[in-house]
């Protein structure tokens, strides 16, 4: 497993996407997207439903293989150097991506073990994460019997188990009430500056609150890229999301 480079140690990872393309049959989900994320940055990926955000995330995690172009994490390929990249990465997908049959502690134990933690390290990581996300009192509960908010919290918690320098979260507050959203955002805000966070969302308020820089995707193309206040501070930031309106970064 490659070690994080010295410049990223303790600050997160660098991400570089170069002319990234992904097709599904005749449909082009991502069309030559190029962007970079600096270490320690919280980077917002915005766009309407179907814009290509999840596809980009999947290419970044290595779940999908690009049709053309490349994406790199600290210079490593998520396909060819999968283990090294995944050692650096914590990924929190949407709520349904958990195992409802398991208890909370059991699910976190599995996630820690799957990331290579064993023995005391694993147990310590699980307990630390339970405490961090205030999940101790539901640790023995079946995940499937928890409320949506708690399930989301569990899903986010497993991404933090191995203290990764890169955190990828996809729609972390989708379907939550305001209080629950605040809890999740607090966790993400705490990570700011200490690790690279790629936040995939279509909630502009969330992006304004958390992201240093944002990119906006529309119909698979990158239509805006820059500091959050620049991109979303325009008179009509929703114009970026409407089909047919082109804007350059």
């Amino acid at each position: 497993m490659s070690e994080p480079s010295a410049s990223q140690a303790g600050r997160g990872c660098r991400i570089e996407a170069q002319d990234l393309v992904r097709r599904f049959g005749d449909h082009v989900a991502l069309d030559a997207v190029s962007l970079g994320v600096e270490p320690g940055e919280t980077f917002g990926l915005l766009g309407a439903n179907g814009a290509g955000k999840t596809t980009f995330i999947r290419l970044l995690t290595g779940y999908l293989v690009p049709s053309a172009g490349s994406v790199r994490v600290d210079g490593l390929s998520p396909i060819r150097d999968a283990r090294a990249v995944h050692a650096r990465m914590g990924f929190a997908a949407e709520t349904s991506r958990i195992y409802p049959e398991l208890r909370v502690r059991g699910f976190l134990r599995f996630a820690a073990g799957a990331r290579g933690l064993a023995g005391r390290d694993r147990e310590a990581a699980v307990e630390r994460t339970l405490a961090r996300f205030s999940l101790e009192h539901v640790a023995s509960r079946i995940v499937g019997n928890l409320s949506k908010g708690f399930q989301q919290r569990v899903s986010l918690a497993q991404a933090f188990l191995h203290d990764p320098p890169l955190l990828i979260v996809d729609e972390p507050t989708s379907g939550l009430d305001p209080l629950q959203r605040e809890e999740i955002r607090a966790q993400l805000a705490e990570a700011r500056g200490r690790r690279t966070v790629v936040l995939c969302t279509h909630d502009l308020a969330e992006a304004r609150a958390l992201a240093d820089r944002v990119a906006v995707l529309r119909a698979g193309r990158l239509v805006a890229l820059g500091a959050t206040e620049d991109v979303l501070g325009a008179d009509d930031p929703l114009a970026l999301f409407r089909p047919g309106d082109e804007a350059t970064a």
Binding site: G25, V65, P66, S67, I79, I142
Partner: protein, 510 residues
């Protein structure tokens, strides 16, 4: 496309399901298979036309690597399977090694012509065919026999030609001759192969009569016709010899059988036997408790002691209705060519036997040896009356316990026949060679090896003969059946259902 593939798969399931359910592929099955196969092919073509996502170098590389591994796995599996099939690698885990061909069969197959074939004729529903197929595979695996199968319905003319009247019959053919085996087993096929071979019958085995000895012409349970057949199968000529009318044992006698004479042998007969043995002859003597014919006294001259008593071996349970232990099951054997193929798992059965101890050597160069023993817990009883009535002998308390010899041998290197040496095998019981018990357990191997040794055949012929299988036919008792049913059949599922309920509750409330 997916719907088409799913429909195609369901059609195939129902098409083949009807085949398995009814035993034949009728119209319903054929239509479903045709429709299902067509649907799957169309779905596959549609999927291929839509699969354009594999054009990138990374994708191609990934698919090529996985595809190569897959191909390698398929080829390796096929190659290894073929190699192990050609090598005939298999393990016989049956209790009685029923699938391992005996050395006698393997040797015989090597001597038969290369055109030897075996054809199994059968009805499809016959449950016995499976076992016979496995047996034929064992023969095929030797490489000495070509094996085939024919369904009787489709082979009427051949069935007529060979005289086949029932399913599960095997026809052996070689050099234009054939033998039909109606109840195939290793033993019956071996005997048929021997008949095909037409072994030159050189050695002559004589059996005495005239003093009430066991009769090799008699075919009921008390007779010894089975022994005569076994001798003929193994290439001996069997002739009788009326001892009282005989001045001398014929010179061509390879072996002489004296089977438990009922009446006393005349002095002239005993003198003939003595001269025969002094001249280097071979004798198989079968004694019996309670019979005093002079045979035991003759054997005493040659170094054997056989008191008129019964060996009672408590290690053997009650058999054939007698008192416990009066019919020993022997599984201890001395090191001798006769018993080299026998061991603790290959027992021999004796029906009331005298001890026959190799007591002393008439001359220093003589070699006497006990070859079959009772267990160390056996004792000798002279209460023959009680034993004859099926009762427990009354002299247990005064008897000495120990290991007793049930069969002994003697080799006497002298005689006037050149390099031949006189040989004796003395059995304490004649019942083990009778029609009722010759083919029980490994009695046949013991008796026939004794004949071969006495007749001074090559040691390689002292072998283990094909299994004469006896299937377990006795039922399980109702109590045994019920205990098993309640235990494994009901209790276990009950516990599992309780576990299922607990898991469900846990899921709902955990």
């Amino acid at each position: 496309m997916r719907g088409l593939a799913l429909a195609g798969a369901i059609a195939i399931v129902f098409g083949l399901g009807s085949n398995y359910a009814t035993g034949e592929l009728g119209i319903f099955g054929r239509v479903n298979l045709l429709a299902g196969g067509t649907a799957l092919i169309v779905a596959a073509v549609m999927a291929l036309r839509r699969s354009r996502g594999f054009g990138t170098p990374v994708a191609r590389g990934l698919l090529l690597r996985r595809g190569a591994i897959l191909l390698l796995l398929v080829l390796a599996s096929i190659g290894l399977e073929r190699a192990t099939a050609r090598a005939g690698l298999r393990f016989d885990w049956t209790l009685d090694q029923r699938h391992a061909l005996s050395p006698a069969v393997i040797e015989l197959l090597g001597e038969l012509p290369d055109d030897l074939t075996a054809t199994l004729f059968y009805d499809a529903e016959d449950p016995r065919v499976r076992g016979t197929r496995v047996l034929m595979e064992s023969f095929r695996g030797t490489g000495e026999m070509a094996v085939g199968e024919r369904v009787l319905d489709e082979a009427a003319s051949e069935a007529d030609r060979f005289g086949i009247t029932s399913s599960n019959s095997v026809v052996l053919e070689s050099e234009g001759r054939y033998e039909l085996v109606g109840r195939p087993s290793e033993g019956s096929i071996w005997e048929a192969l021997e008949r095909l071979r037409q072994r030159d019958r050189r050695e002559v085995v004589y059996y005495t009569r005239g003093a009430g000895e066991g009769d090799l012409r008699r075919s009921d349970e008390l007779g010894y016709s089975g022994l005569a057949e076994a001798l003929a199968t193994e290439g001996y000529q069997v002739r009788d010899l009326v001892l009282p009318a005989t001045q001398a044992i014929p010179d061509d006698a390879a072996a002489l059988l004296v089977i438990a004479p009922e009446r006393g042998l005349r002095p002239e007969s005993l003198a003939s036997l003595q001269r025969y043995l002094e001249g280097g002859g071979g004798l198989l003597a079968f004694l019996e408790p309670g019979k005093s014919s002079g045979l035991a006294e003759l054997l005493e001259v040659w170094g054997f002691d056989s008191p008129d008593a019964v060996v009672v071996d408590p290690a053997a349970g009650p058999v054939e209705g007698g008192a416990p232990g009066v019919h020993p099951l022997a599984h201890s054997y001395g090191d001798h060519p006769i018993t080299r193929v026998l061991n603790a798992n290959r027992m021999t059965f004796f029906l009331q036997t005298r001890p026959v101890e190799a007591a002393r050597k008439p001359r220093p160069e003589d070699r006497l040896r006990a070859i079959v023993y009772s267990s160390p817990r056996a004792w000798l009883s002279t209460d023959l009356e009680a034993i004859a009535r099926g009762q427990v002998p009354r002299d247990r308390d005064t008897a000495t316990t120990g290991r007793f010899a049930l069969v002994s041998t003697g080799a006497y290197p002298r005689g006037e026949r050149g390099e031949r040496e006189g040989r004796i095998v003395a059995f304490g019981d004649s019942g083990l060679a009778s029609n009722a018990y010759l083919r029980a357990l490994y009695n046949l191997d013991l008796v026939m090896n004794a004949v071969a040794w006495v007749a001074q055949r090559p040691e390689s012929t002292l072998t283990r003969r094909p299994n004469m299988l006896t299937e377990i036919q006795h039922p399980l008792t109702p109590q045994q059946t019920l205990v098993m049913f309640y235990g494994a059949g009901l209790l276990l599922p009950e516990l599992l259902l309780i576990a299922a309920g607990l898991a469900w509750i846990r899921r709902r409330t955990g």
